[in-house]
Amino acid sequence: MRTRLRLIPTTFIMLTSLWGIPETANAQIVQATTSIEGLTCPFCSFGAQKRLKKVGGVKDVKVDVNLGLATLFAGQGQSIDVQQIPDAVKKAGFVPDDIRVVAIGMVQDNSGQLYLQLRGQEQGLLLADADPTTSEKLRGFAGSGVEIEVTGAWNSASGGNSFQITPGGIQLL
């Protein structure tokens, strides 16, 4: 049974690797959408698409010039290396802005802290500072063995390996 839960993104959720390993290297990111500033014509967008296709784990990229967005799709069983996206956009001659991702994993509770156990990975992404409603719904999945899909904004914290996802929705798989 598939259930779609829509959450109002009122706070950021902090995601951090529990084992000190940069979580983006193992993040089960199946889709990422980045805003691109300075993108004004289709011919120019080719360079952005070409660079973004080289991002780790990416199989395909679609660019929407009208909306100034590029959507990256992961290959089968692969995870997009989101950390590479801003540099790819810059090398194409544009300016990266917000990134939204779709991540898949199982919610676990580790001494009261929620994290997203990634599919086929030992590492996880720590969920922290969630708003009460979001935390309650996520805690309901903790330890259930049920995989969920989380969408939200991805924002690299300065100088560190932690990332924030603002939940735009949680979906059971």
Binding site: E37, G38, L39, T40, C41, F43, F46, R51, N66
Partner: protein
């Protein structure tokens, strides 16, 4: 610009083709999102493009007729997200008819190498403003010693100048999803070869284009535009003496159309002379037609 004068090789009444004609054929702006005007839009790191145009130029009066068909191939490469390099490889077919005789040649002209570097940019969603200086060097790869049955072709009819000619320029572009405005300023320093020195040339190009179709911004964009091309050229020097029948000012207005999608562009323009203030008995251009396209890879 085209200029003719009765010079040293006019024993049979033939006229020289002006330096301006050669300039118009080989001083080719490398990356024109507009058809006749440079722009400062980005070429990403590692990105390549090929551009080719077919340019037809005609100038005639009662006794003289000049025609030129040129095919400049432009190869562009993004070294970094700010630095782009270009090579312009022109193939020329030019012919002059005067006093009942036809003279001309076809082949490779002088290749020009250019570097463009973005020094300022301001970007927002669906909008960009960029400024980029350009430096270039035209090298004498074209034949400058062609002959026919009448002897050596006059220097302005040769495919190449025989000289290394540097130039500098500046391009500014403001582009949105709806329209685009570009300005390109350039100056070419012409040096001497074969006792002939073409006059230095300054150019100012302006281009505005407006997106017509599709309004939903799916697939490619269709633009209509209006461009202006102003050029001034100093007088030529022949064996150290100033040629009074050379140099001058030309202004073209150029309506244009462009189709642009992610992989290629197609374009066309008609350059119509509206101001012609040329030296001496220079032959004034009648019209110039341009079609072309470019591809990304």
């Amino acid at each position: 610009m085209q200029k003719f004068f009765q010079g040293r090789s006019s024993r049979l009444g033939l006229s020289f083709l002006s330096a301006a004609v050669i300039m118009s054929a080989t001083s080719f702006d490398p990356v024109r999102a507009q058809v006749t005007t440079n722009n400062a839009l980005p070429i990403g790191q590692g990105q390549k493009l090929i551009r080719v145009q077919a340019i037809y130029l005609k100038a005639a009066d009662g006794s003289r007729e000049f025609e030129e068909l040129s095919f400049p191939f432009v190869l562009g490469y993004g070294v970094t997200n700010k630095l782009a390099l270009f090579a312009i490889v022109p193939f020329l077919d030019r012919e002059l008819e005067a006093d009942g005789r036809r003279r001309g040649e076809f082949g490779l002209g002088d290749i020009q190498f250019l570097a463009r570097y973005t020094v300022f940019q301001k970007n927002e969603k669906g909008r960009t403003f960029r400024v980029a200086p350009i430096v270039a060097l035209k090298v004498p790869t074209g034949d400058d010693d062609e002959t026919d049955g009448l002897g050596r072709l006059p220097q302005p009819l040769q495919l190449g100048s025989g000289s290394f000619d540097p130039s500098i320029g500046l391009v500014i572009t403001r582009q949105t999803l709806k329209d685009s405005l570009s300005a390109s300023l350039g100056y070419q320093f012409n040096t001497k070869a074969n006792d002939f020195e073409f006059g230095d040339q300054a150019t100012l190009d302006l281009a505005y284009k407006y997106r017509l179709f599709p309004k939903t911004l799916k697939s490619g964009f269709l633009f209509v535009g209006l461009e202006s091309n102003l050029s001034w050229q100093d007088r030529n020097r022949v064996v150290g003496s100033v040629d009074a029948n050379s140099g001058g000012t030309l202004l073209f207005l150029s309506p244009s159309v462009q189709y642009i999608n992610q992989r290629f562009t197609l374009e066309g323009a008609i350059q119509i002379p509206v101001v012609q203030d040329l030296g001496g008995n220079a032959l004034e251009p009648d019209i110039r037609l341009i079609i072309g396209g470019q591809i990304n890879f």
